[in-house]
Assembly symmetry: none
Homo-oligomer: 222 residues x 2
DNA sequence: TAAGTCTTTAAGCAAATCTTAAGAAAGAAA
DNA sequence: TTTCTTTCTTAAGATTTGCTTAAAGACTTA
């Protein structure tokens, strides 16, 4: 899941980035409206968090232009404290929700999850055969026994399971789990797939994570 | 534990804030009904203390609207009048309890604790292996022997134990135990975890407080 | 105001994780 | 089969994250 934060205050965007990365989201930051819109229009993001007051281009303007191209990507506004009129206006412009600063992280997260839930079912626990992954708890079990995964291993497994029974292209995986600007010619995915298969105890008879040669990988379940 | 006081008289709200902070609660104040309702609806308070007579919006109205969204968060009324009719009306509206001004602070505190006690997840004593934490008298024991903790150490331990066997992400810990706007890039948590582990006598064989790398910490008990 | 305690910052060190790279293995095509 | 391409596996180096300590800063209390 990719999130773009368009926010000029480094304190806020930094805090958000860290918090969301702890939740295994892939987060990018744009520091002004122009840059933000450009990044957003690249179309890789699953949700935008946009500050209302921005140098260069206002959040409303961003929303308006972005909406033309991407009618369904959720936009969540971050507004200063006592501007509920403006917030209503934001919703009319095309935002999906707004949250007032200073905000509580828990609440923000809940609102993000609501947006994802509306899109597709963004469940808290995901399964793949004997593998069970709890997103909230950062915990993975195989046949009820805990398996310790690192951040990246966890994010990769989550991505694959969320796209269960669909082929995941290498480029897509890199974009979502690593970074958009990550070197395409890398072997990281292979390395992490390898360690996932090891840790999860997957064998060839038992290959819940299949290799699709020339394309990528697929989490497979009958 | 976060408390929101909605009260227009600064003398009273200030007195309450100070007293409650001494009891290690995190306290915010709203000075009128409208602001109070907005803050309350942000949803991260564990209890509301609401003045009956408020400019802008009455306590009853706040209760009515708040209850729609949060059916279980306790609301405690502060009433000036001695008429039990109004008190009964308040309770019918959705308040959990009321207390008459001028009130005795001890009594208020007792009533707040009653509310927490009624909630299933607000026990008076919390345990984690050999560690026992008594919220009422701010006391911690390990194998029956008292250990002296400072305010912050206590608050951190309480947070971890209340979320026993769940991963506590750094950003959430900062938000709950420190402040929403605390510098996200800080090492305070590490320092306090360190002193907790020392004071509680935790070792690697005995690690009731686990580190979850890249995410946070977890109070673990089989 | 001064002494004492608690909280926060900062910095060096240690450990875990991530990335790269290169040879081995497996699969596809000729 | 042979050759070429893609993926697997391993290990070493780079990087990040957390631990620990010390000291500065903030706050209390007398």
């Amino acid at each position: 899941m990719r999130i773009l934060i368009i926010e000029d205050e480094p304190g806020i965007s930094g805090f958000l980035k860290q918090g969301l990365e702890e939740e295994a989201y892939a987060v990018d930051i744009a520091e002004n409206g122009k840059e933000g819109l450009e990044m957003a229009l690249e179309g890789y993001y699953d949700i935008l968090l946009v500050d209302w007051m921005l140098p260069g281009m206002s959040g409303v303007e961003i929303t308006r232009r972005f909406r033309k191209e991407f009618p369904s990507t959720p936009i969540l506004f971050l507004t200063a404290k006592d501007t509920s009129d403006e917030a209503i206006f934001a919703l009319q412009t095309g935002a999906n929700d707004y949250i007032r600063k200073p905000f509580n992280f828990e609440e923000l997260l809940a609102r993000i999850r609501v947006q994802f839930r509306n899109q597709s079912d963004h469940q808290l626990s995901l399964t793949l055969g004997p593998i069970c992954l709890y997103t909230e708890n950062h915990r993975v079990e195989v046949n009820g026994k805990e398996v310790i995964l690192t951040q990246k291993e966890f994010a990769l497994l989550e991505y694959l399971i969320r796209h269960k029974n669909k082929v995941c292209r290498r480029s897509r995986i890199i974009e979502s789990v690593w970074d958009i600007h990550f070197d395409y010619d890398t072997g990281v995915i292979d390395v992490f797939i390898n360690s996932l298969r090891k840790k999860l105890g997957l064998t060839k008879d038992n290959n819940y994570i299949q290799t699709i040669r020339g394309v990528g990988y697929m989490a497979r379940e009958e």
